[in-house]
C-alpha cells in the first residue's frame, strides 16, 4: 500500500517534538477526522531556521509531516508558503489516493504556522484559500 520511502519516513521521522520558543505555530485537522498536524517554526530574517512537528494520525500523516518539515528547513517563508502537497507526495514517492489529504494537511499546517508568524509580526496574513479537514479540499495534485 505504501512506498518504502513513506514507511522509512514514518518509522524514523525527523523534526519530531514541541518547540517551546517557536516564532510561529500552525495547527490543522481534528480528532474527528483522525488527523491533527501541528507545525512549529523558528524564523531568522525571512528564513526558516528550525522546524518541528507533532502529528496525531496515520502513517501517511506522520510521513508527510516529517517530509514537509525536512523540505522547508532553510527555505524563505515565501518558498515554504508555495510548497504544495504535490511536492510532498512526490518526495514520498507517491501516496495512495485515499491518503493524499494527509499531504494537504502538511502544507496547510505550514501555511497556518507562517501566517501565525506574520500575525505576530503585525503583518497581514497571506490568503491561505479555503481548505477543510478530512480531505474536503481538492488537493492541488498528486
Amino acid at each position: 500500500m505504501y512506498t518504502e520511502r513513506v514507511i522509512a519516513e514514518f518509522t524514523n521521522p525527523e523534526n519530531v517534538g514541541e518547540m517551546a520558543d517557536a516564532d510561529g505555530v500552525g495547527e490543522v485537522g481534528s480528532p474527528t477526522c483522525g488527523d491533527i498536524m501541528k507545525i512549529y517554526l523558528k524564523v531568522e530574517g525571512d528564513r526558516i531556521a528550525d522546524v518541528r512537528f507533532q502529528t496525531f494520525g496515520c502513517a501517511a500523516a506522520i510521513a508527510s509531516s516529517s517530509m514537509a518539515t525536512r523540505m522547508i528547513r532553510g527555505m524563505t517563508l515565501a518558498e515554504a508558503w508555495s510548497l504544495s502537497n504535490g511536492d510532498v507526495v512526490e518526495s514520498l514517492g507517491g501516496l495512495p489516493p485515499a491518503k493524499v489529504h494527509c499531504s494537504v494537511l502538511a502544507s496547510d499546517a505550514i501555511r497556518a504556522a507562517i501566517n501565525d508568524w506574520r500575525t505576530r509580526q503585525g503583518l497581514p496574513p497571506w490568503d491561505a484559500g479555503s481548505r477543510g479537514c478530512c480531505g474536503e479540499a481538492e488537493p492541488e495534485n498528486g
Binding site: P31, D35, I62, A98
Partner: protein
C-alpha cells in the same frame, strides 16, 4: 527488530485463519482424483457426491440441525445476503419491516441498505457500551409488519456475544423469522439452532481453519426464502452452480474439528487473551478494553489507546512482525472510523486509536509475551509524536 520478526506473530484470526493440515488432507483427493461432477449419474461421481453429503452432515451436526437444512455457498457475505434478501423478498406480502443492529457486519448492513432502496423499512437497534443488544429493544421495535430480525451471534470487531436465544424468542413471539450471522462464533460459541431459536444462520469456512471461498446458510425447514442463484438443481435448486466439492469437503472437516471441543479450546485461548489484556492495560496508561468484560469471544482483545491512531500502531507492529487490525478510518480508506466502536459510545478519537488482537490455535504464550514486550514501546513512540498527548502520559516504566 526482534528475532521473532522472522516468524510473524499472527494475531488477526478474526480476519482469517490458516487452514489446518487435516483440512487440506481431506480436500486433496477431490481436486484431481474425485473430480467428477456430483450431479452426474455414473458411478465415477459417487465419491464427490458422498463427499458433499458427508460435509452436509458435518455442518448440520455442528449446529444441531438436519443435513437437508444446510445450503453450501461461497462464504459469509453471500450467506448474509441470501438470508436477508431471501426472507425479505419471499415474505414481502406479509410485511416489509426488518430489524437488525447497529453493529452488524457490512454484509448485513449494506444488504439492509439495499433493501431500504427497494422500499423496505429497516430498524437498527442500538447497543450498550459493551456492544450488547437488549432483547427488550427488539420487543419495542417489532411490529406486525416485521418479517425478519437479524442480529449477529458475536461481533467481529469487539467480540461481544449477543443474547441470541432471547432475541430469537422475541422474533418468534411476533411471528418473525430470526437470522444470525455466526461467522465469528462458529467454533467459539456452542450453537444449537433449536435451543437458540434460530431460523437462518450464516457461517464462513475460513474463520475456523477451513478454506476461503466456502460458507453455508442454515435454513430451518419450512422457512420462506427466495432462491439465491437460478440455474441447475444444485443445493435443491436454491443455489445453482456446480458445487465447490473440495471446498465443501474442507468446510465439513474444518467445522467438525472446530466444534469437537469448544470448551477446551476456549479455555486455552481465553487464558492467553486474559493475560494479554491484563498485560496491556497494566503497562500502557490511558488504554481501555473495548467490548464486553465477560460476554466476549475467547480470542478477542480490542483496545483503544488515547492520543494515537490505529493505522500507525498497526504499521509499527507490522515492522516488528506482529499482524493485528484496527477500527480506525485511516486503515480502510474511508473517513469514518468503525461503526461498531462508535455505536458503543466511543469518541472518534478513541475509535481511531483502536487495536484488535485476535488469537488463534497457533498462538503461544511466547507470542503473548512478545506482543507485551513490543506494544508499550510502539504506543509510547506514537504518543511522543502526537500533539494530543498530555505531559507525562507516555508509557509506564516496565521491568
Amino acid at each position: 527488530m526482534n528475532d521473532q520478526a522472522d516468524r510473524p506473530v499472527y494475531m488477526d484470526h478474526a480476519a482469517t485463519t490458516f487452514m489446518k493440515p487435516e483440512v487440506l488432507a481431506a480436500m486433496a483427493p477431490y481436486f484431481s482424483q474425485y473430480f467428477g461432477n456430483p450431479s452426474s449419474l455414473y458411478r465415477f461421481s459417487g465419491e464427490p457426491r458422498k463427499g458433499v453429503d458427508a460435509a452436509r452432515r458435518q455442518v448440520a451436526a455442528a449446529l444441531g440441525a438436519n443435513p437437508e437444512e444446510i445450503y453450501f455457498c461461497a462464504g459469509g457475505s453471500e450467506a448474509d445476503n441470501w438470508a436477508i434478501k431471501g426472507v425479505a423478498l419471499a415474505n414481502r406480502k406479509r410485511g416489509d419491516h426488518i430489524i437488525t443492529s447497529a453493529i452488524e457486519h457490512h454484509a448485513v448492513l449494506h444488504t439492509c441498505e439495499w433493501l431500504k432502496r427497494q422500499g423496505f423499512l429497516v430498524t437498527y437497534l442500538p447497543v450498550d457500551e459493551f456492544g450488547r443488544v437488549d432483547p427488550g429493544s427488539v420487543e419495542e421495535a417489532i411490529t406486525d409488519r416485521t418479517t425478519l430480525v437479524s442480529v449477529m451471534t458475536a461481533n467481529n470487531e469487539i467480540g461481544t456475544i449477543q443474547p441470541v436465544a432471547e432475541i430469537g424468542r422475541v422474533a418468534h413471539d411476533h411471528g418473525a423469522l430470526f437470522h444470525t450471522d455466526a461467522v465469528q462464533a462458529v467454533g467459539a460459541v456452542p450453537i444449537d439452532v433449536d435451543a437458540m431459536n434460530i431460523d437462518l444462520l450464516s457461517l464462513s469456512g475460513h474463520k475456523f481453519y477451513g478454506p476461503k471461498g466456502t460458507g453455508a446458510l442454515y435454513v430451518r425447514r419450512g422457512t420462506r426464502l427466495e432462491n439465491l442463484v437460478h440455474g441447475g438443481g444444485q443445493e435443491r435448486g436454491r443455489r445453482a452452480g456446480t458445487e465447490n466439492v473440495p471446498g465443501i469437503v474442507g468446510l465439513g472437516r474444518a467445522i467438525e474439528l472446530a466444534t469437537a471441543d469448544i470448551e477446551g479450546h476456549n479455555r486455552r485461548i481465553a487464558a492467553m487473551r486474559d493475560r494479554l489484556i491484563r498485560g496491556v492495560l497494566g503497562s500502557i496508561p490511558d488504554a481501555r478494553l473495548n467490548g464486553h468484560p465477560t460476554e466476549r469471544l475467547a480470542n478477542n482483545a480490542n483496545f483503544s489507546f488515547r492520543y494515537v491512531e490505529g493505522e500507525s500502531i498497526l504499521l509499527l507492529l507490522d515492522a516488528q512482525g506482529i499482524c493485528a487490525s484496527t477500527g480506525s478510518a485511516c486503515s480502510s480508506g474511508s473517513l469514518e472510523p468503525s461503526h461498531v466502536l462508535l455505536a458503543t459510545g466511543l469518541s472518534h478519537e478513541e475509535a481511531h486509536g483502536s487495536l484488535r488482537l485476535t488469537l488463534g490455535d497457533a498462538n503461544t504464550e511466547d507470542d503473548v509475551d512478545y506482543v507485551l514486550s513490543v506494544l508499550p514501546d510502539v504506543i509510547g513512540r506514537l504518543r511522543r509524536i502526537s500533539p494530543l498527548t498530555p505531559p507525562g502520559a507516555g508509557v509506564r516504566e516496565v521491568d
